[in-house]
């Protein structure tokens, strides 16, 4: 499986390229039907961003990446954690509350806050894990319900602990002390804004995800369960335990999503904290095929489209919401393209095996092109 076969590589690249091509055509057609200026839309979106916007792309991608990895962990074993959205908000609130107390100095506070947030996210996810394993409730339904419940619970708790932001009507948790605020990294020359310091967390998470999934017993069990549950059970994998572990891991990773925002931009959790990141993560995980590098590329593409679409209203006279259509069409095209390429792969593999079998046993009639 791990041989670097040129054909496999070609097919692997073919799916996203095919999907992007299809998405381009379909989106253009939709814009034409709606009577929007197709040329201007594409020239605005596909222009090279200025340094300031590059920083925005990288920052948004960092957060998307964390969100998508949290989703992907579950996806790898057919566990659909739709609840990343609720988990990260519970975790961001818990983390902000903890960091705001300033019980520990500077960087120690940051590290411990991350631990607290991961614990809170994992704890919230464990409810869904319990409901699935002990009560047989699909995680898809339960996590969606828990998202809505998380919204209510966090709002209620926020009102209990909130302080008023000076000069505005929004409320938030106690701001984190200045010693724990992270100024950011000047990675991109010529930009006045900075890249989140906690981009390192995303890098660590990406590497850790790759290592655990591909190089550990746990990762093997996880992938085996995702490929075939019956085969995994037969080989001794305890699926309920895997479900609990994976769901909590997914929730803990979801807990990280809010951290770059908390320490690099907002410095507290309030009513204006960015929402909806969990759902974007689902799309990006699907787009990146649950692969650590694939997700990174997908996250960059997603945030690139986000940032570039901001100029659409001014430069093309088109509402920036058009980006949702582009992202959605890409998503569907990719999902279908992956499935088509996978089938093609299976068919080619079957043909190859059939050919080899026929060659090794010349006395039996050759079987050509077994049906998929």
């Amino acid at each position: 499986m791990n041989r670097l076969n040129p054909r496999r590589l070609l097919l692997g690249v073919a799916a996203p390229v095919l999907a992007l091509g299809v998405a381009f055509v379909v989106t253009s057609a939709i814009l034409l039907v709606l009577g929007d200026p197709v040329g201007e839309v594409w020239s605005t979106i596909l222009s090279w961003p200025r340094p300031r916007q590059l920083v925005q792309v990288v920052n948004a991608a960092t957060i998307y990446y964390l969100s998508a990895v949290a989703v992907a962990v579950g996806f790898r074993m057919n566990l659909f954690n739709i609840g990343v959205d609720g988990q990260y908000r519970v975790a961001a609130f818990a983390g902000a509350l903890f960091a705001g107390q300033a019980w520990f100095p500077g960087p120690v506070n940051v590290l411990l806050t991350i631990v607290v947030a991961m614990a809170a996210g994992g704890l919230w996810a464990s409810i869904a894990a319990y409901l699935k394993v002990r009560r047989g409730i699909s995680e898809v339904i339960s996590t969606i319900m828990l998202n809505a419940i998380a919204t209510g619970v966090v709002q209620w708790l926020l009102l209990k602990v909130a302080v008023k932001q000076p000069g505005s009507n929004t409320i938030s948790t106690e701001p984190i002390p200045e010693s724990s605020q992270l100024a950011g990294l000047g990675l991109i020359p010529g930009a006045t804004n900075k890249v989140y310091t906690l981009i390192v967390v995303a890098v660590v998470v990406g590497f850790g995800y790759w290592f655990i999934i591909n190089k550990t017993r746990f990762g093997f069990d996880l992938r085996a369960t995702g490929r075939s549950e019956t085969a995994a059970v037969a080989s001794g994998v305890k699926v309920p335990r895997m479900v609990v572990t994976t769901m909590i891991a997914s929730g803990a990773l979801a807990g990280l999503i809010g951290m770059p925002l908390l320490f690099g931009q907002d410095f507290s959790y309030g009513t204006t904290f960015q929402a909806g990141l969990g759902f974007a993560g689902i799309g990006i995980a699907l787009l990146g095929r649950n692969h650590p590098v694939g997700i990174a590329i997908a996250a960059l593409l997603w945030s690139f489209l986000d940032v570039q679409s901001n100029a659409l209203q001014i430069r093309a006279g088109v509402a920036s919401e058009v980006v949702f259509i582009i992202q959605g069409v890409i998503l569907f095209a990719v999902v279908i393209a992956y499935e088509l390429i996978r089938r093609l792969e299976v068919r080619l593999e079957q043909q190859r095996v059939a050919r080899e079998l026929a060659a090794s046993r010349p006395d039996t009639p050759a079987v050509e092109g077994a049906s998929a």
Binding site: N78, F80, M145, L331
Partner: protein
Amino acid sequence: MSAAGLEVGTQKVSGTPTRRLRLSPLQWVGVALGAVFVLSVLRVVTGANDVDSSGLLIAAIGLAVPIALAGLGGLWSERAGVVNIGLEGMMILGTWGAGFLGYHMGPWMGVVGAIIGGALGALIHAVATVTFGVDHIVSGVALNIVALGFAKYLSVRFFSTLPGGGPTQSPPLPQLPSFTLPGLSDALGTLEQQHIFFVSDLAGVLRALCTNVNVLTIIAVGLFIATWWVLWRSAFGLRLRSVGESPVAAESLGVNVIRYKFVAVLVSGCLAGLGGGFLALVAANVFRDGQTGGRGYIGLAAMIFGNWRPGGLMAGSALFGYTDAAQLRGGGTTVHAFLLLFAVLLLGIGVWQIVRRGRRTQGLVAIVVGVLVGIWYFTTEIVPPELSGTTPYVTTLLVLAFASQRLRMPAADGQIYRKGEGH
């Protein structure tokens, strides 16, 4: 469970197949009367007069119909073996379709627009899952993201410039007719105001059933009956369900599995779209971004709760519509009254678990939680609005937690089928 995901060995095969309780129409009436009785006791004990007022029940019917229609859509699709998480997306497209055609061409064309919107979403889902064999949940989740994006863009594009419209909402929409039985409604209203135990409560329920009933509500009830008849009494329905139970067997008998699945998903989309249309045309009289608020998912949960059958689905939607109405109207006070009911229920379940089934730990946990909820009831006056807003979702989870292990979904639900697989 509904998802095509992991089984985790929760299905327990019991020695004797237990037939699920099937109620005759008369018994359903008995159950409904029993529920009214419990509510009237709760009303008298807690003094929260709104727990079964006709006003609340009218609101509950209005909130139950979209959930029921979405669930009915889910029923069609899952009976044919296609898991439909995309109901939410189809509903969203339905709300936009209703807003667009409803504003420009009148309320009935709004209904058509809602159905078209839902059907377009279903077409995408059907092409992805049935034709191309994409995982049902992946496709459904993707559809929800796509539909949300489309509705956002289209509303900016088409509603911003209209008088009374805006980037996230349409101008007010023309109304569909609704009906009231003139004399009866007022008479029942007077009786209800007397607050006599049980009698007034029954009057409240009856008044809700004959006051301000929207024509779409009546159509929805008709669709329920039609669905039951088509799926369980016609040859077409038998084939459709056989596709969801065992596609290989169905195909060997000459059923065109792919076509049946496709049709089922399309019908599913029409129904979910109509549910969205109800939200826009009847419940709010306006299209608004984010209007569905997860009702597609709740519809799916109601269908699971209803054991993939129309009657159960109707009961599930009624429950969710009711809890939603309670939190919206009465807010904290009515939900606060539920706490008492919930505490008593938990205590009952706990005692039953220990005495009849010998499960000490489970029984004890239920009793402890019940006592805690009871303490919460007696030490507070009201449930905070942020928390009471989560009532429908908490109810969904609790109901599923207690019911889900007795349910049986279509045997091949969520499985990807390719033509000629059995050969």
